[in-house]
Structure formats: C-alpha cells, structure tokens
C-alpha cells in the first residue's frame, strides 16, 4: 500500500469465503456438488437491506475490486477508480459485494481447486461454465448474504454480460443494471482471438493436457502469449501509438530479437506480471465463458425476445475507441431494452483508451456513472 491511505479508498480489506453444499446444475449438463466463492464487501448493509450493489468482474480479475489487502500491497483492487467513499459506486452509501467467479483461481472453486472426488486438482476435469452458471452461483451468494434484491448489479466487459444475464434470470432481484463496455455476444473475430489465446496455452509443452499441477509446472509461455494477445485487444491503436509509438528502448535498432520497441517491453512486462498469479486452466475456462455468452440464441437470435423477462432500469455505457466490444455492440443491447419499453439510458463516452477505458477515470464516464448511481442511491433511500 502507499504510505498513506487515500481518503477515497476503502483502505485495508479482507476477503471472506462462503461454502455452498447444494449441487449446482450447470448449463453444460454437468453438476458441481459443492463449491466455495471468495468475496469482498465494502460499506455496510442498511437495515432495510436496500443498498446492496453487486460488482461483476471481467475475464482475468477477481473479488478484489477495491482497497488493499495489506500495508505491503502495492496495487489496489481492479476497480479502485470507481469503488470507494465518494466514488461512482459510493461505499458511504452502498454495501458493495464482489466475488471471484466460479472457475476462478483466487479462492473460489475452479480448475486449480481440489476435486473432493479424486483428492486431486480438477484441472481439465473442471466443467465448462457459462455466464448463466455464474449468475446462479452469485444468486446463491446473495441468499447467503441475506440480500433479496440488489439495488444495482454493475459490471464492465464480461462483467456487463453477467449484469445482462442477471436481469434475464432473476428479474425481480435487481432494481438497476449497469452494463459497461459489453456486448450481447462475441463476434467471430472475438472468438478467434480467444481461440489463439487458448491454442497458445494448450500447445505449450508444459500444459500436459491441463494436468500441469501434477508435474509441478505451468504453461507459462502459452499463458504469456495469451495475455499479450489479450492486451493488444484491450488497447486502441491510438493509445498504443500515443503511449509507445515506434519508440525504441535503447534509442537505436539493435538488429536482434531482444526488446527493441517500447511496445514489446510493455507486452512482455504485462505477460510477466500475469504469469505466476493466474491459473492457465482458469484462463481457458474464462475465454470459453465469453464465447458461449449469447442470450439471444435461445430466442432464434432475437435479443429483444431474450430481454423480455427483464424489468430492471438500465444504464449502458460504451467507449468510442473500444474495438473489442465496440459502441455498436452496446447499441444492440440498448435497442433490445427499448424494444421492451424498459427504462434505459445510454452514454457513448469519447475515449482513446480502447476496451480498458472501463477501468479508467474518464470525466464523462465518471459523470454519467455517478449521476446514475446517485439515482440508484436515492431510490434505495441512502
């Protein structure tokens, strides 16, 4: 942690864990008999239990949305910019919950957890998961926490997809849905990027068909490449140009395969800091969750029909330079919502940061997000 805690940080936080021993039937047909979800909470639940906000995380993040785990922690949670006292998701008013999703590798049951049937890590035996399964498991966590209705469920990217699924599967259990930098389904191009990432991991000689734990190793090379590829899709061409351009690390071309351009240095740094902290099987799983998400599929491709059960009020936000989930994808969501006469507002934020913009403090983004959450708070009576 920095020497001094920012007054607008939730400060030191401690994760909790909940155990669920009722089997969960997955979309794939498989069943997980029991599972754990690790989660964090910030702020306090009011007596009416009307001020709870669920934050859903994206591909590679976790339950640690805000604050620090210890004095030694150098980096705060992944959504520190948005979650905290006086911030968009104001912990002075809301009781904020964020869990590591099922299949994760930060304490929730996932491929690196011990399978009680074999007493070995699940590895490739861990069933494939869908966004629906996540929402089901999060609903169990809601019951565990005594939260019948969320004041809002919010999330960016894959997190936004969970918000959509919540509004479809448990319409009565959320008043507001905030869907940021999301898409109603992946395009062929999105799936293609995921497949390259998966192939990088699965063809790594250290992958051992997903049983690398037994060999005391991990497919680090594959995971590094997957992460580098991911990072390229999270940024825009503009911001890459602005950040790195064709800048050379040593100021000159060396005519070798070491890092020459700054962008190479950046990608390698991102890869290095990812490996060792993230389980490769979880990464594979998360990319599949993304690929499978398509609520309209069960309705002949008609998203408006898919959203028919939703009753929540919606705020949808996109970013102009996001080419991974471009504004047009958010507009598809907005159309499905107003086709169903739902209350929806949509803001397209001018930003050059690409998909990653949803993590950043951008004036107009902060303005619309906090304006909307103020309404959520007012309705919740806080």
């Amino acid at each position: 942690m920095p020497d001094k805690i920012d007054p607008d940080s939730v400060g030191i936080v401690t994760p909790s864990s909940a155990h669920f021993d009722q089997p969960i039937q997955l979309t794939s047909g498989e069943v997980i008999d029991q599972f754990d979800l690790v989660y964090e909470t910030y702020g306090s639940l009011n007596a009416e239990r009307s001020n709870a906000v669920l934050v859903c995380h994206a591909l590679s993040s976790n339950h640690h949305a805000a604050g620090y785990h210890s004095q030694e922690d150098r980096k705060p949670g992944w959504w520190e910019n948005m979650v905290g006292p006086g911030k968009c998701v104001d912990t002075n008013r809301f009781f904020v919950v964020c869990c590591n999703n099922l299949g994760g590798c930060f304490g929730s049951t996932g491929p690196s957890s011990i399978n009680p049937k074999t007493n070995k890590q699940y590895g490739p035996d861990f069933p494939l998961i869908t966004v629906r399964d996540w929402v089901e498991s999060q609903a169990r966590l809601s019951d565990h926490l005594g939260i019948n209705v969320w004041a809002a469920v919010v999330g960016g990217s894959l997190g936004g997809m969970q918000v959509m699924q919540w509004s479809i599967d448990y319409p009565e259990r959320l008043r507001h849905a905030v869907v940021i930098a999301a898409a109603p389904k992946l395009t062929a191009q999105n799936i293609a990027f995921n497949e390259v990432a998966r192939q990088a991991i699965r063809t790594d000689p250290d992958f051992h068909d997903g049983r690398y734990y037994d060999h005391n190793t991990e497919p680090a090379r594959g995971l590094r490449i997957a992460r580098m590829l991911g990072h390229i899709t999270y940024l825009s061409d503009d911001i890459m140009g602005e950040k790195f351009g064709r800048d050379l690390r040593d100021g000159k071309i060396d005519f070798d395969y070491d890092v020459e351009f700054q962008v190479e240095s950046y990608l390698r740094y991102q890869a290095d800091s990812f490996v060792g902290g993230f389980d490769a099987n979880t990464y594979l799983l998360m990319t599949k969750v993304l690929d499978y998400f398509d609520p309209a599929d069960a309705h002949g491709g008609n998203l408006s029909a898919a959203m028919k059960s939703a009753i929540a009020d919606f705020m949808v936000i996109s970013f102009t330079s996001d080419w991974r989930f471009a504004p047009a994808r958010s507009r598809e969501i907005v159309k499905a919502l107003h086709d169903n006469d739902l209350n929806v507002s949509y803001a397209e934020v001018t930003a050059n940061q690409g998909h990653d913009a949803f993590l950043m403090k951008i004036d107009h983004y902060v303005e619309v997000f906090s304006a909307y959450m103020n309404r959520v708070a007012a309705e919740a009576g806080v």
């Binding site: 705020m315 929806v344 507002s345 803001a347 397209e348 909307y372 309404r375």
Partner: protein, 202 residues
C-alpha cells in the same frame, strides 16, 4: 423539479400530448421537456441527445436518454414504436430535415416539430433592406458560425409536409416569448418567430 415553470412552447407541446403516451424526444437537450411530460402527463419514452453535458443532465434528472446522432437516422427504433416523436428547435440544424421527418413518421404515429420561422418580418426586413443574413432573438447566430444550416419559413415547412404526405393536425405560430395572439393567428408566417406543428401520415 418536474412541474416548475417551463418554456411556453413546451407547455403547448404538453397540451398536444395525450396522457400516458409514448414519446420520443429528438435532441432532448437537458431533458426538461421529457421530465415535464413524465411528471405532468405520465408519458414514457426516451430522449435522443448527442451532447455529453446534456446527457449527464438527463441522467441526473432521471430522464431516459440515448446517445445518438440524429443525422444517422432512427434505424435503431422499429416502426410505430411511439405515439409522438418530438423535434423541438432542432429541424434547422439537421443535414437532411426531410429524411429525419420521414424517419419520425416511420417510428411514430404523430410528429411534433417546432422551428424558428425564417419568414418572420424581422428576418425578411434584415435580408431585404439590410442586405445581410438575419440575426434575431430566435436565430441569434451569425451566418458563418451557426448550427442552423437548414432554415425554412412556415410556408416552406407546410409545402414539405404536403410533399411528404403528412397531414397537419394542429399548428401554432408564436412570438419570442412563445405567446400566440390574434395577429399571429392571422399572419403566422410574417409575425411568428417560432412555428409549432403536430402532424401525421395521411
């Protein structure tokens, strides 16, 4: 909020709108009209806006607002989705007013349009005798720096409605404080500063 004193042209629009109807407000600004209609006429619907600050203001006011560029049409809305589509003092700033009017009649049963009347005597006088592009209370911009790229008169607008096959159901010409006296009823195109129309497809 909601029921405060508002622009007189808004109260005329509100008179024209049936309670409980579905309204699409094109170029809704800070959401004042929709907020007023929500509160006083229990309407539902959406505002379309392109300005970031206005979008924030709408969200703050609890008005449904959708960021969109009207020049790109209303293709995200299905046919006959709304009882009324309102275009208030925005027509003259559109690249193709005729196409937008047609879009309005595709997605809504009735259209309500207000625009600054270029046929007003002050504008005529400034052009005819002054020999320069008019600058008036309802058209305050200079010709070289104005969002108003397609100015028209009451006569022009009525001709366009005819050409597009719209039936004018109600109209009003008002002065700069949006009042409508006898003179305005007799000589709308000469005395009216702002023209207001309610129309539908024939």
């Amino acid at each position: 909020m909601n029921n405060q004193v508002i622009r007189p042209d808004y109260s005329i629009i509100a008179e024209w709108i049936e309670p409980g109807s579905r309204v699409l407000d094109l170029g809704c600004g800070d959401g004042t009209l929709l907020d007023y209609l929500n509160f006083n006429k229990s309407v539902t619907g959406y505002g379309i806006e392109i300005d970031d600050d206005n979008i924030t203001k709408c969200i703050r006011a609890g008005v449904n607002v959708i960021h969109s560029d009207l020049n790109e049409g209303l293709s995200e809305f299905d046919e006959d989705s709304f009882d009324y589509v309102v275009l208030s003092l925005t027509l003259q700033a559109m690249q193709r007013p005729d196409l937008l009017l047609q879009e309005m009649m595709r997605v809504g049963s009735e259209g309500i349009v207000t625009f600054p009347n270029f046929g007003n005597w002050k504008a005529r006088l400034q052009l005819a005798l002054g020999g320069h592009m008019p600058v008036t209370r309802s058209l305050p911009n200079t010709w070289y720096n104005t969002p108003n790229i397609h100015l028209c008169t009451i006569k022009d607008f009525e001709q366009l409605c005819k050409k597009l096959g719209f039936e004018i159901l109600e109209s009003r010409a008002v002065d700069h404080v949006h009042k409508s006296g006898l003179g305005l009823k007799l000589f709308p195109n000469l005395l009216g500063q702002v023209a207001m129309y309610r129309f539908r497809r024939v």
